[in-house]
Structure formats: structure tokens, C-alpha cells
Amino acid sequence: MAAEEKLYRVALREALAEEMERDDSVYLVGEDIGKFGGAYRVTEGLLDRFGPTRVVDAPIAEEAIVGSAIGSAMLGLRPVVELMTINFSLVAYDQIVNNAAKIRYMFGGEAKVPMVIRMPGGAGHQLSAQHSHSLEVLYGLIPGLLVVAPTTPADAKGMLKSAIRTDNPVMFLESMSLYNVRGMVPDGDYTTPIGKAAIRRPGTDISIVGVSRMAVLAHEAAKQLEEEDIDVEVIDLRSIRPIDWPPIVESVRRTSRCLVVEEGWATYGVTAEIAAGVQERCFDYLDAPIRRLGGAQVPMPYSLPLEKASIPTSEDIKKLAREVVGRKPLDG
């Protein structure tokens, strides 16, 4: 298939525009997504193209933004909400958990809530404590939600289309640090399924599962570890809920070693579930404990050196991967 190199943010924009063209019931709502062009410029130009009924600049009122999107979805529209960052989703957390995720079930299947909430997360921009969150687990925990975290422009576009088209509420977790990443994006209309992990690199010595941007870092680390003769299989989790266990399990059974990496706090983080689930499913195959890497367990500090010390790097991944690979198996 023909493809072209594009920015992650542009791939997202294309998905939005194409879905809006395709389906009149799709509209966008968020703070400063129109005239301002979007805090991270994902929606730039869409107001001019689709007008203020379909690209809605909302007041700073996340409960109303998310809640009204839910209400409109119950009436058959397909809202795509942009929350400026994941940090502000906490104000709307009740709406997401108690309404978006539950309406279908608590009304016995009589209603549905086809909507997407897009928002960037992550740290690394000196935004300090209140504005540097990963928090995927807050949404991964909730039955009724689908939760994805694409890491490539191609996935960003394809998964956003899938998210818009499904009849379920989807939390679409972008990463501030990925908006400027380039990658090949297939031409034309395509979707990338929700619920599927991606093997980014095959390998035989260790399986590294990366969450969101950490999948990208894990890939970098893997390339460098090659020089040390460590052959890493890199799995991009992509789908936080549901978790795509089969490729992870197949991989770990093959490599017998596993490391899981996330940018946020690992204690009670996404990596906890992956590690717990892998040991359940691969117990007899493991030659070393599954290790986890996450951000420092602090509210994110502003100071650049402190912030740097708080976010996992590919060096950290390499170090831990070496440890896991170096660990003698039980019968070794």
C-alpha cells in the first residue's frame, strides 16, 4: 500500500477530518480546539473546514464537555472530545467512570455511548506536578471503556478511526512527546484495530512490553542492545483495555524473560497488571522474575535535572534488560 511520512499530530488530524467527512454525526468538542487551533495543534484548520457546529470551542468546564458529549452520544451523535491534557480529565473523572462507562450496562443495554475522548499525557516538558501525568491505569481499570495508546503516526490515524467508529466509549491516550514524531502513514482510508498489541521488533532473549511512549524507547534500547548481543523482542502494548494477551504470552514463553516499561508510576501502574498477568500465564516458562520500570514515585518536579531523574530513559531500560537477561535461570 502506498504511504507517506507524516507527523503523529497530522495523522490524527487526518483521521478526524476523514471521519467527519464520512459521517455527519461526528463532531469535535474541546477547549480552544477551534480558533486557537488546539493546544497541541491537532485540530488546526478544522474549524475553517467544518464550521463551529462541528468544531466546538467549549468553556473551561470539563464535566460539561465530557458529560454533554455523553448525552449527545446517547442521542446518536459521535462526539470526539479533546481534553487539553490528561491532567484535566481528573475533573471529569466521575463523568467518564460513572456515566460514559456505565450507561449502557445500568440501563440494561438499552442505550449506548459511541464517543472518543482524546487527550495527551506524559511528562518531560517541565510542566511540573499538576501537569505531568500518565495515569493510563485510571481508565484501564474501568469496565465499559476501551482504552488505547498509539505510538506511531500510522496507528494514531488508524486507531482513531476505529475509536470513532465503534459504538463504545474509547479513551484515546496520546502522548505530548509523540506529536512531532514522524512515521509512514498509509494512504487512503484504513483502520487499525483496537485491542491488538504490536510486535515492533522480533527477538529471542527478552520480551520488553512498552506502554505508550515507552514502547518507542524500548525499541531504541533494543537497537542498542543488539550491539551487546542481546536480542530483544519489543511489544507495543497499544491497547490498555482490553489487553492483547496472546502475543505477549507467546513472546514470553519464547524468550523466558520479560520487562515491562511505563512512563508513569509503576506501583499500581499498567506494568503491574502486565507483570501479574504474564507470570500467571507463563509461569513455567520464566527464567527470571518479570521486572518493571516506571517513573519515579514523586509528583513531577519542575527542575530539569529532577524531572530527568524521574522519567525512564532508554539507558534505564537497557540497564534493567541486561539485569533480567543476566539473571540465572532456576536450573542454571
Binding site: 448525552g71 446517547m74 456515566n99 445500568m106 440494561g108
Partner: protein, 372 residues
């Protein structure tokens, strides 16, 4: 009893003589005018229909309380007793094409809307025949056909949804009104503010309908709200707002009707406060020790059903014998309703995961979590 089934087409119906047993929701004239509410012979059937609906709600709730005591009903359970005028008067003026969002105190709301009372009771019993197939219970009734968009349990949490429904109406260039019912206590929470502002900023056709029963659990309005006259809060949104006597069903009907049609006409949100009184405890298990007997007695004297009966009697439209017959008919009807609920089947345990997701994700095993 087939006659208790909700009327989905009541607008098309002619005004016919109401004899108990009758459909729970009276045939509503195309528009409710002062003339239609005059205590005249010509209006008799409609007026008696309203009375009957109020009585049905009252009796339904009384029996609900009793069934709760018998452990046929569980969970939190909030009754509309005392609020019948506010509820019936607030809901009947809506067209069937209009939408309703409401709170957990909603049995009467559903019944007034025309939701089959058997389905309401069955939901309370947690049965598959319930409005939400037993998944929702007292707080979460739903009826898509009647655009009864649900009862919600987080105080204030449904107000943003109502704004969104109105957004959708406008988006689709339709002329429906979204009515959102909530309590006095809900006006103190953030979602209230965001929703009213949102509705005004985007010219959304919402009727914000506050059932001020003077208490949020044990807290009187004036202890929780800086402004005791709730309707005045609309000033912060430059929104038309009125207070109505929520014990007087004819007043509520008339004024709500006017407001609903204004909203429809200009797609501007409006606010109504219906002032009434919660006759029972906050929920059926509340011993209600925080209100003085005098206070309760005072309001009991203003019982909206008694007051309406008095009007009907004084104007010669009905007499005690008629009321007694209605009560008896309703007793029997509610008995049938309970029987229906009681005899209905529970949801199947193997359907536990049904409805968590829609469409292609429905009941997918990977969404059941760790398949232990």
C-alpha cells in the same frame, strides 16, 4: 393487566371519558392552556386523568416502601410521595418527542412519562422485565422509546448529559426540548453550574427543572445553598427562571407548559423551581429524625393530591365516592403491578457480561479481565 401498559401515542388520542381502570397517563391535549385546566365539565376527563396519575404514583410508592420492607426491593430507594404535583405537572407538558433526564428519585417520573408501571416495579424487583432489565434498579430506569433517558445516581451528574442531549437536538436541527429534573441539593454542585452555563452559551433547548422538596437528605435548602430561592440561581446564566407552587398541580402544568413551549420556540434554556415537600424520609430506610413533627404536619396539610381533590370536589367534577373508586381501582392495579414484578424472571447469571460493551465488543472474553 394490559391496560397499565404505557401509552406511546397519547398525543394522537382523543380526550375520552376516564373510568378506572384506565391508562396511567391521561391523554394530554396538544397544548396545555389555562382554559384546558379550568375546573369545567369539558375538562373533566383530562383533570381526572391527572388526579388518577397522581394517585397511582402515590400508591405505587407506598407499596414500593412496603415491598422494600419485605426485601423484594433492595439498594437505595427514594420515593416521590408528596412531590406528585411537581412531578406530574413537570412531565405531562412535554411532548413524547421531548427528552427527559432525571435523578435517582424517579419512579413517579417514569410513570408520569408513560413508562409501563409494571416495568418500573419489575426494575425495582431486579427483574429481566424491568425497564433496565434488572441491571439498574430504583435509581436507573430507562425507556428509549419514551425518550426517558434515565435516572442517575450521582447528584448533579446527569445535568451535563441533558445539555449534551440538547446539543444533539440542535445539531440535528430538531425541535425537541430536553427536560432535566434534579433536586434542590443538586444546585450546589459544580456540574450544575457548568451545565447551565454551557446550555446558555450554546443556546440549548433545555428545561432545567428543579424539584425543590426543601431537603437534600437531612439538610434543609437554606443550610446548603447561599440562595434559598433556588430559581434565583439562574441569574448567573442570564436565564429566564420561575418558581412555581409545586403543591398545585394545575399551576405546575400550566406554567411548565408555557416554559416548555418557549424553550422549543427560541432554543433558549430556561429554569423552573417547583417548590414542594418530601413527605417521607430521604430514602425508605431513613428514620427522618431531623425534621420536626410540626413541620411535617404543616406540609401534610398541603398534600397536593388532597388539595387537587378538594378543587375537583368543590367544582363538582368529582366526589368522595369517585375518589374512593379510583383508589380501589388503583389498589388493584398496583397489586397487579406487584404481581407482575414478582412473577417476572430474574436476569440470567450467564448474561452477567451482556451489555458491558456494545456491538463488536459485546461479551468479548478478553474484556472479562483475567479469565481465572
Amino acid at each position: 393487566s394490559a391496560t397499565t401498559v404505557g401509552l406511546h401515542n397519547r398525543e394522537q388520542q382523543m380526550v375520552t371519558p376516564v373510568k378506572p381502570p384506565a391508562p396511567p397517563v391521561p391523554s394530554v391535549p396538544a397544548s396545555i392552556t389555562a382554559k384546558k385546566l379550568e375546573l369545567t365539565k369539558g375538562n373533566r376527563d383530562f383533570l381526572l386523568g391527572i388526579h388518577r396519575l397522581m394517585q397511582l404514583i402515590r400508591r405505587f410508592e407506598e407499596r414500593t416502601q412496603e415491598q422494600y420492607t419485605k426485601a423484594k426491593i433492595g439498594g437505595y430507594c427514594h420515593l416521590n410521595i408528596g412531590e406528585e404535583a411537581a412531578v406530574v405537572g413537570g412531565i405531562l407538558p412535554l411532548k413524547l418527542s421531548d427528552y427527559i433526564y432525571t435523578s435517582y428519585r424517579e419512579h413517579g417520573h417514569a410513570i408520569a412519562r408513560g413508562v409501563d408501571p409494571r416495568a418500573v416495579m419489575a426494575e425495582l424487583f431486579g427483574k429481566e422485565t424491568g425497564t433496565s432489565h434488572g441491571r439498574g434498579g430504583s435509581m436507573h430506569m430507562y425507556d428509549a422509546k419514551l425518550r426517558f433517558m434515565g435516572g442517575y445516581g450521582i447528584v448533579g451528574g446527569h445535568l451535563p448529559l441533558a445539555a449534551g442531549a440538547a446539543w444533539a437536538v440542535k445539531y440535528k436541527k430538531e425541535k425537541d426540548v430536553v427536560s432535566c429534573l434534579f433536586g434542590d441539593g443538586a444546585t450546589n454542585i459544580g456540574a450544575f453550574h457548568e451545565s447551565l452555563n454551557y446550555a446558555k452559551v450554546f443556546d440549548l433547548p433545555v428545561l432545567w427543572y428543579c424539584v425543590n422538596n426543601r431537603y437534600g437528605m437531612g439538610t434543609p435548602v437554606e443550610a446548603a445553598s447561599a440562595v434559598a430561592d433556588i430559581y434565583k440561581k439562574a441569574c448567573a446564566y442570564d436565564m429566564e427562571s420561575i418558581q412555581v407552587d409545586g403543591m398545585n398541580v394545575r399551576e405546575v402544568l400550566l406554567r411548565t407548559s408555557e416554559v416548555v413551549e418557549k424553550v422549543r420556540a427560541d432554543s433558549q434554556p430556561r429554569f423552573i423551581e417547583a417548590l414542594c415537600y418530601r413527605f417521607k424520609g430521604h430514602s425508605v430506610v431513613d428514620p427522618d429524625k431531623y425534621r420536626s413533627p410540626e413541620d411535617k404536619e404543616k406540609f401534610r396539610k398541603a398534600d397536593p393530591i388532597v388539595a387537587f381533590e378538594h378543587e375537583l370536589e368543590t367544582s363538582g367534577l368529582a366526589d368522595e365516592e369517585y375518589f374512593k373508586a379510583v383508589r380501589q381501582a388503583i389498589d388493584a392495579e398496583v397489586q397487579d403491578i406487584i404481581k407482575f414484578a414478582d412473577e417476572s424472571p430474574d436476569p440470567k447469571v450467564e448474561d452477567l457480561y451482556k451489555y458491558v460493551y456494545a456491538a463488536e465488543w459485546e461479551e468479548r472474553p478478553e474484556l472479562r479481565g483475567n479469565p481465572l
